[in-house]
């Protein structure tokens, strides 16, 4: 099983304005870690530091215990990385582009064929003879993803892996990552909260180059209370009756004659009271958080952090 670690990593491109500040985390074994943060928070910089595309200004990063700045070849030996928008030479065809990766990862010719076929089954690659320069953005992204998978490396560093993919392709990739995380270690940066919720077991929230929170996805909900509820009644409810919720709610918005969205202060006490009142109004068939907990957590953490600074 693989591992990755950053220890006291600081990175600045100009003295005095660090992009990452004293970043430390370590993961090993198997699973998927979501790496979240707004644009410019340092997500991609961290991934680049891990694979040795950038040199830490302070601290060090390791992959499977090896610092890529010391021994790039051994550090990257069992790592698949998709960072920014990888572009194989446009003159090469799909097979040639993937063959180079497979050979560099130590596959024999026969096994390269098998691995490219395996990636094709997983990702529905474009025709192997098609030149990279002729592919659409989504097709190129699938080839880039295949390049990270070839040779079945134990660690995968994926920077917005579903960027440029259509909805069907995103579903395909999410299903693939969910399978892979059982016996691979995946670090995945993304802006798609739904994707992270669906794929990742743990999340790291990053803001302005510092870690705001590291937590299991299922425990984030305990820390961050959703402030919106969707309530669905068994039968249509008149707006006048729903107004009974006003003292508890910040805002009440009808979604249909049976469904309502209620914004509130997010506390468990108010949530319980709203549920009781709703049950008095009518038969409740659904009572749930309106938005993704992770998304709210993200926004709340960022807000709190910005207020603090």
């Amino acid at each position: 099983m693989g591992s990755f670690e950053v220890t006291g990593v600081t990175k600045w491109f100009r003295p005095g304005s660090p992009v990452l500040s004293d970043l430390t985390f370590r993961y090993d074994g198997a699973g998927a870690i979501g790496y979240l943060g707004p644009n410019g928070s340092g997500k991609t910089t961290t991934l680049k530091l891990l694979v040795g595309l950038l040199r830490p200004s302070r601290g060090h990063a390791t992959l499977n215990g090896i610092d890529p700045m010391v021994d790039r070849k051994r550090a990257l030996w069992d790592v698949g990385a998709l960072i920014e928008s990888p572009e194989p030479y446009p003159t090469l065809n799909v097979f040639e582009a993937l063959e180079t990766v497979g050979r560099a990862r130590g596959l024999a010719s026969r096994d390269v064929d098998r691995e490219v076929d395996r990636c094709n089954e997983l990702l529905h690659l474009p025709p192997f003879g098609e030149r990279i320069g002729w592919l659409s953005k989504g097709q190129r992204q699938r080839v880039a993803l295949a390049s990270a998978l070839i040779g079945d490396p134990s660690v995968m560093l994926l920077d917005e892996p579903t960027s440029g993919l259509d909805p069907a392709e995103r579903v395909l990739v999410r299903a693939l990552l969910n399978r892979l995380k059982r016996d691979h270690l995946i670090l995945m940066s993304s802006h798609q909260m739904f994707e992270v919720t669906e794929v990742c077991d743990q999340v790291v929230f990053l803001h302005a180059g510092q870690i705001l929170l590291r937590e299991r996805v299922d425990r984030v909900e305990d820390r961050i209370r959703s402030r919106q509820l969707d309530v669905e009644f068994a039968a249509p409810v008149e707006p006048g009756r729903v107004s009974a919720l006003r003292p508890l709610a910040v805002e009440i918005v009808p979604r249909s004659d049976r469904r309502w969205r209620i914004s509130f202060d997010g506390t468990n006490e108010t949530r319980i009271q709203i549920l009781r009142r709703c049950q008095e109004i009518g038969e409740v068939v659904q009572f749930s958080s309106a938005s993704l907990v992770l998304e709210e957590a993200y926004l709340e953490l960022i807000d709190t952090s910005e207020e603090a600074t």
Binding site: F13, V51, L54, R55, W77, Y89, E96, T100
Partner: protein
């Protein structure tokens, strides 16, 4: 001390095993990868066609002038003909070196190519070596076309028996060394710049325009331009020149002279070797240090 990663054994049906790849094997993989790319680029076809067309035109003018005229002009010597014809080989080599070396490394930091190649378990020095090898081979292919036309002309005008094959092979060897030197400079420029176009342009400007201008200025001042790679390229045709003169004094007027130097073969080889020794390690160092900040 970190142990060499063990081969990954195949587990389960359809699983594949991996072996740790040696630097030599990596070099071969990168060379093939780069050659596959170069041989399909428009710049390769464009330059190859350009060299072929120019060479064919030169040859056709000579053919139309007639065998007798060419023989007189070339002092009835096949070697003289080849020497004169190949005096332009350096230009083609510099152009090819700029085209194939000028962006060989900067492409990793200005396009997504680096995010594809630099995350592979391959040392940067090996990546550079593979690309350098591919660039040398492609540059020699371009120069080779020029040599084919030169040889065809020599055979046509002087007969196959009179062609100095050993001298021709020696000239080709000096051309190869010149290509190595020119590509060392081009790779160094490429490792310094971030824009591929800038790398190509600066290489051409430095190796050709810059050196020719400087050499002329130095010659006017009566100084041998030994520092110029373009000057060293004179060794390519000097090998075949049976009336070789290293230093010529050309009268300009009353008591005024202009001294012209032509590099001797040994001098040319020394200059080329010095360029390789200086610029190739520098480009390895710069490429190794460069970060993907874009």
């Amino acid at each position: 001390m970190v142990a060499t990663p063990k081969p990954t054994p195949a587990e389960g049906p359809g699983a594949v095993s991996r072996h740790f790849v040696s630097d030599f094997e990596d070099w071969r993989i990168v060379t093939v990868h780069q050659l596959q790319h170069y041989l399909r680029t428009n710049r390769f076809f464009g330059l190859l066609t350009f060299v072929a067309v120019i060479s064919a035109l030169t040859l056709s003018f000579e053919v139309s002038a007639g065998v007798a005229a060419v023989r007189v002009e070339q002092l009835y010597r096949s070697s003289e003909y080849l020497s004169n014809y190949l005096s332009n080989a350096g230009l083609w080599i510099i152009l090819a070196a700029a085209f194939f070396g000028g962006d060989a490394l900067s492409v990793d930091f200005s396009t997504g190519a680096g995010y594809y190649m630099l995350v592979l378990p391959v040392r940067r020095s090996v990546l550079l070596a593979g690309r350098y090898t591919a660039a040398v081979l492609v540059t020699l292919a371009i120069a080779g076309v020029y040599y084919v036309f030169a040889t065809a002309g020599a055979v046509y005008f002087f007969g196959g028996a009179s062609v100095p094959w050993a001298g021709l092979a020696e000239s080709l060897g000096v051309s190869a060394l010149f290509a190595l030197a020119a590509l060392s400079v081009a790779f160094c420029v490429s490792s310094f710049f971030r824009s591929p176009a800038a790398g190509v342009l600066v290489t051409v400007l430095a190796l050709y325009v810059g050196f020719v201008t400087l050499a002329t200025v130095f010659e006017l001042a009566g100084i041998e331009p030994w520092f110029s790679l373009q000057y060293a390229g004179g060794a390519i045709d000097a090998v075949l020149d049976t009336d070789f003169i290293h230093q010529q004094t050309v009268p300009l007027g009353a008591d005024q002279y202009y001294i012209v130097w032509v590099a001797t073969v040994v001098e040319g080889i020394e200059i080329m070797a010095a360029y390789i020794a200086a610029f190739l390690p520098l480009s390895v160092y710069l490429y190794h240090r460069k970060e993907s900040t874009g």
